[in-house]
Amino acid sequence: MFKEEKTLCHTALQTALKVGAQKARINFVKSSMDLVNTLDGEVDKLTRCLDSSMNIILFVDGKFGGFSTNKLSENALESFILRAVDTVRMLAPDDARDLPARERQIQGSLNGRELGLYDNYYEKICADERRDLALNAAVWPSKGKAWKLISEEGEYSDSLDFSYVIDSGGLEALHCETRFSYGVEITIEDFKGRKYSGYWWDSSPFLSELKSAGIGGKALEMAIGQIGAKSIKSGKYNMVVDREVSSKLFSPILAALNGYSIQQGNSFLMDAVGKKVFSEGLTVMDCPHIKGQNGSRLFDSEGVATREHAIIEKGVVKEFFLNSYTANKLGLSPTQEDAIRPKLMPYAPDSKKTLNTLGRDDLMHLCGKGILVNYFNGGNSNTATGDFSYGIEGFYFEDGKPVKPVSGMLVTGNFLTLWLDLLAVAADARPCREKLIPSLAFKDVDFSG
């Protein structure tokens, strides 16, 4: 980030204090991104994105407001902040609003590169290389005995993001990261005229670690695997959920532990801290400091220092996610505003394999027979009760091996009972994801078809 933009942030902070705010925080984000989209082996779209915006948090006479703008001239900013302070004055006071205590925030001066998420090669990459990267993994044109390729859409992107935060309590912190991503979606048609699609992707802070080779082939393989899929008989089945989609079943737990949900009474995990509400097989660590990995962060949006800690340990909830506001509202001590980089630890009491080597296929062997879910087609959950219902695709398996593809089915249940029925947790989470959720196995889940 450039010196003049940091200066602009400090000017904005001083302006806010000068025109009536007693406390303020400035979050400045600046990003650049280039995308190359391909269609059927040719470049289809090229996009260049350059964004800067300033988020201004104001505490005025016990009142609170959040404002953002991308009009970043000094004059425009001053006028914007003046109007913002006037707006805040019209609101009701809320004594729960405050900056975090300085000792909870990240200390020292950061250059943004402490977590090793910046690839110097980003500055060298050129348009021709981007185009080659976007086209290299294409499988177009391909044809099989039982299918024809209808379309292949690819997207290569690289980006650089800066996030700079200062506040009137003395916080100053910078985070920066590069990211290189590539994904392919394939649509095929079988000899009966039915279409099937498959998608695969990868992402890394470093171009040299982007696993783009074979991505088109993997997407094609997934589409072919679904040929002939149909629903099977409704009933209770063991369920193995592939690591690509398992966050669908874990993210609602994180949402239910969020302080806003707790404060509003809109959570199926009210009063859960210190209680064993899940299977003892569920242990979740927050690991935000792993160098060179997507999602690692030293501080959150309030500047609070992140930490390595247990969120859930052997089924016992260790803490809610409480920022300054929700902690004050609930009369509790603040923790951290959210899980930064949660990691589910492996668990398989009946497995003879080393836990750290467990993959999805091992979970299928442990279950014997059941349904492997590799795609969720819509659905939702009730945040207050934990009831859920999702559309699914995948495979029926026996003896740990896929027997036939399934689609057009629904899985229905309640998160509390589902996670009490956890059979096993694999160790195969993809490091390209910010949340490290591996393949999961559950027993006796209701499927409708």
Binding site: K45, R48, M90, K329, S407, D446
Partner: protein, 474 residues
């Protein structure tokens, strides 16, 4: 259209825009357009009985697009200073010229002259201060609490935006518009005998601040507590395939997910849609008409012009059961050799336009009333409130999440149900609509479609009977 107002907002002249387009086309492109946007978005939030949080966002900039035989180069600038605009135009010119040298395409046959007046603004949101809306949120809180003693918590949110839009293209067409949008929503937590229930309700209109009034507040409060007894009693039904009666209004999500997306022409241009080879063919029973419409005054999906400067219009996708038209932007219209249908939409100047729905609905039928439809089902399900939906374009498999409904036993509503997903296949579900009542209702909730970009939409439908869908259950 007072073009001088918009030229002043963005600080450019027509001559400069012509020059920018010229710069964009220097790399060999055949089409270039500019999209200027100045949007102010504000939110006021009531929590725990007081309006103690406010937010505002300004978003300003210009997107520049060059097309080369259906291929796109896109860049944008967050400043409209001449130097920055020129830089963005040269960027798209550069990326366009890095593609193959394809001959220019023909001029697009679009109606850009007769923009509608589908959202005349009586009170510009920007002329009001936040304080003037605080009382509306407090009234809504009070109204909801007064209607049911089981109310525990209320979050009420007023969101509004005003967007000044100016578009210019390589045909020399200049189009300007100011788009308002207002949404009032409440999320309520109820408690009964230690059990919690949630309910979210909203109303959204492309209107100025005149939309806020006692009638709207009362309507939302009634909606918030409607069906609460049934919610506490509701259980999961036995799952499986069964007939589904869908109530008029929000059940229009069926059309949006099961058919609307598959009719968007980009998916058909690429051959991906399950409807890609169905143009001119029967896809539903006789008498069924499905429309995507930008011309309903004040509707969340209303558009005087789309985001490519094409006049807002009403498009019959299915007429008397036959597939008549896809939903086109300029690229797909060129591909199919038809006029654009005014469906080129974008989330903001940061995105290039793609085919998107507006207000998607089915016209009323002649198969009686909702009661007639329920009465015709021996064993099935009735659904009336929804949360979200999704579709797989190629397979046509869609789903939508049901917040409330009832089982149907021997032609009568029986046990209340909630929190179930319903899944089906688009063409099959469309063909399986066996009865359409005469009670079309457009639902004015805050529907937002998330295909690559978020855009405001709405939907509607008369009560319909679908012969067979798969219902989640235990």
């Amino acid at each position: 259209m007072n073009k001088n107002k918009y030229l002043k907002i963005f600080g450019v002249t027509e001559a400069q825009m012509k020059q920018l387009v010229g710069e964009g086309l220097k790399g060999g492109g055949s089409w270039c357009d500019l999209y200027f946007e100045n949007t102010l978005t504000c939110d006021l939030l009531l929590r725990d009985g007081s309006v103690s949080s406010g937010a505002a966002n300004e978003s300003y900039g210009c997107g520049i697009r060059v097309l080369q035989n259906g291929k796109t180069a896109y860049a944008y600038s967050e400043s409209t200073a001449w130097r920055e605009l020129l830089r963005a135009a040269r960027a798209v010119c550069g990326i366009a010229s890095s593609g193959s040298n394809i001959p220019p395409i023909a001029a697009h046959k679009a109606d850009t002259k007769s923009g509608g007046q589908y959202y005349p603004i009586k009170t510009d949101w920007r002329e009001k201060s936040a304080a003037e809306f605080v009382s509306a949120l407090q009234k809504l809180d009070n109204a909801i609490r007064s209607k049911d003693s089981r109310v525990q918590k209320v979050i009420a949110i007023l969101s509004y935006s005003m967007s000044d839009i100016m578009m210019y293209n390589s045909l020399g067409e200049l189009t300007c518009d100011t788009k308002p949008m207002g949404s009032l929503a409440a999320s309520v937590i109820f408690m009964q005998n230690g059990k919690s229930e949630t309910k979210s309700v909203s109303r959204s209109f492309r209107m100025g601040a005149e939309m806020i009034g006692d009638a709207l507040i009362e309507e939302l409060a009634d909606m918030a507590v409607e069906g609460l007894d049934a919610s506490f009693e509701a259980r999961r039904p036995k799952g499986g395939e069964m007939p589904v009666v869908m109530a008029a209004g929000a059940s229009g999500i069926l059309l949006h997910e099961a058919m609307g997306h598959a009719f968007e022409a980009d998916f058909n241009r690429k051959g991906q849609s399950i409807f890609a080879d169905k143009m001119g063919k029967r896809v539903a029973k006789r008498g069924i008409n499905i429309i995507d419409d930008a011309t309903i005054p004040g509707n969340r999906g209303a558009l005087n012009y789309d985001d490519e400067g094409v006049t807002g219009q009403k498009t019959y996708m299915v007429e008397d059961g036959v597939l008549k038209s896809y939903l086109h932007d300029r690229i797909s219209a060129e591909h199919f050799g038809v006029a654009p249908t005014g469906n080129g939409r974008r989330e903001s100047f940061r995105y290039n336009p793609i085919p998107r729905m507006r207000c998607t609905y089915m016209e009323s039928g002649s198969d009686g009333t909702l009661q007639d439809l329920i009465g015709s089902v021996r064993k099935g399900i009735f659904v009336d409130q929804f949360a979200n939906g999704q579709v797989k374009i190629g397979e046509g498999d869609f789903s939508f999440y049901v917040k409330s409904g009832y089982t149907i036993v021997n032609g009568r509503l029986d046990m209340p149900v909630k929190d179930i997903n319903i899944i089906g296949n688009g063409p099959k579900a469309l063909a399986d609509i066996t009865a359409v009542a005469g009670d079309l209702k457009i639902d004015d909730s805050t529907w937002t479609c998330g295909k690559e970009q978020s855009v405001s939409v709405s939907c509607g439908i008369p009560s319909v009977l679908v012969k067979k869908l798969t219902v989640g259950g235990i």
